[in-house]
Amino acid sequence: MQIFKPPETPDGTAAVELKNVSLRYDDGSDVLSALNLALPPGSFHFLTGPSGAGKTSLLKLLYLAQRPTMGSVHLFGTDVTAAARRSLPAIRRKLGVVFQDFRLLQHLSVFDNVALPLRVAAAPEPEIKSNVTELLSWVGLDNFMNAKPAVLSGGQKQRVAIARAVVNRPRLILADEPTGSVDDAIAMRLMQLFIELNKLGSNIIIATHNEQLVARFEYSRLALADSALTELPPLSYRSAAESDQAINEPQT
């Protein structure tokens, strides 16, 4: 049985910092209230909580799709809540996001979808080609390079979404339920991808309600409940031999 351990996280400016952050949508009560959090560079966390707890909302604050009602969000030392609109693209290029509903561009091929963050950042075309190809074969979609998202199965779409999120080696990866549509074997393979990127220095936050998955990794949990965030230690329960097996003999 193999349990994945987090790398040592170096000290320094927090990569992600929430200061007294609250979020309330137009018409309702606080979804998130007075959250405080500071994650060191290179951290790896699960974000857990029941359906509707606000996991996606918290990630939205981090990927700048939503402004907090109160408080401030800091990424890599920059207060993004105060940042000028002009400076946001530069910050966003350091982020990689796996959306819960994938958000693939329907009119672009799988290849072009994954290449998007590189193209937007004006990367040279040969580099794009090699990076995207390598990544697509890692997630087992070499045969679907030119397919449109509409013809993919649910799990295939999810893998494209993950590939797009990580293709530009972002400093912070925010993944919303990234293994919800795939079977356990592929899930473990995808987790392996996140672990590799984390070892290379990326901060990772994975929102999930899959307890079996969380249990296999010795990473701390950020638990959302009743609008509040608690940092919990890794789940002690660990499931079995399959995890080793899944990672060593990945299926496509």
Binding site: Y63, L64, A65, Q66, R67, R85, P89, A90, R92, R93, L95, V97, R103, L105, Q106, H107, L108, L116, P117, R119, V120, A121, A122, E125
Partner: protein, 296 residues
């Protein structure tokens, strides 16, 4: 490299479907309108000021055995009646020598020398823009001189000029209304297409794309769509102009000034087409940028 790529769907959205049509209609009508206005202008400046707002009243001479004074009295009565009309600005009795000149083509140089009883002619200048006066004038004059004759041919001609001028204004008006409506429609089309692409644009933004990156793609798209439509409209307009040309040839050159070579007829339509394409593109670009600014 990147700017040639497209992250937006290039077909199937409102803007790319409609803009060519809208621009085509705009260019077509615009072409007709500017050519029409140019033609009307040429016609008007051809007919021009030669014709003033005058009517000639003719008082036939009484039989030779009547007194000379009777003729003079008839003319005076008519002049007085005319002067009383509010629509009449000025009244002038033509001198005999003028009458001779008018009759010369009919009667030869010697008419004045003959003992023929010539009519008296009264030149009546009408108040500018007075309408429906000819009947009033006729009745006023014939009341006092029953056999007076009103020669209103010049007036007819003037009215023809008025009518042409009216068509000119109407053409400009219709062109303006239609152009405005279509420009508005292009704004709507762009907004609709932005709304359709909201999801795509949001993904582009979240991936780190700048506004200019998105707006440029839209503007290029619109430009190409607009030029397509503009070309179509120009071709349709050219056909219509050709038809007008045939019509004009049908009208004798003496009647209508030569319109074939006038500047407006050949230069303005391409300008209209350029204007429409530019209008569409700029409209789209501004609409996109201002909409993008309001997005997260």
């Amino acid at each position: 490299m990147i700017s040639l790529r497209t992250d937006l769907p290039w077909s199937g959205d409102s803007a790319s479907r409609f803009i060519p049509w809208l621009v085509a209609i705009m260019v077509f009508l615009g072409t007709l309108a500017v050519s029409g206005v140019a033609v009307f202008d040429t016609i008007l400046s051809g007919w021009s000021k030669a014709v003033t707002g005058t009517v000639t009243v003719q008082i036939p001479a009484l039989p030779a055995d009547s007194e000379q004074e009777a003729n003079q009295a008839r003319t005076d009565r008519a002049v007085k009646a005319l002067k009383d009309l509010p629509s009449v600005e000025g009244v002038r009795v033509l001198a005999n020598t003028e009458i001779d000149a008018l009759l010369a083509p009919w009667l030869g140089e010697r008419a004045a020398a003959s003992d023929l009883p010539l009519p008296d002619l009264i030149d009546v200048t009408l108040v500018d823009g007075s309408t429906a006066t000819i009947e009033a004038l006729r009745s006023a004059v014939t009341t006092v001189v029953h056999d007076a004759i009103i020669d209103d041919h010049r007036l007819w001609f003037e009215h023809l000029i008025d009518l042409t001028e009216g068509f000119r204004l109407l053409t400009i008006g219709v062109a303006l209304i239609v152009t405005t409506a279509l420009a508005l429609t292009i704004v709507y089309a762009t907004r609709a297409s932005l709304a359709e692409f909201k999801e795509v644009i949001s993904v582009l933004h979240l991936t780190g794309a700048r506004d200019a990156y998105v707006a440029t793609q839209f503007a290029k798209r619109t430009l190409s769509a607009a030029f397509k439509g503009s070309a179509g409209g120009l071709v349709a307009g050219a056909f219509a102009l050709f038809a007008i040309g045939l019509l004009a040839r049908n009208v004798e050159s003496g009647f209508l000034p030569d319109i074939g070579l006038s500047l407006g007829f050949w230069v303005l339509p391409p300008l209209v087409s350029l204007f429409a394409a530019t209008l569409a593109t700029v409209t789209a670009f501004i609409t996109v940028l201002s909409t993008l600014r309001s997005m997260v």
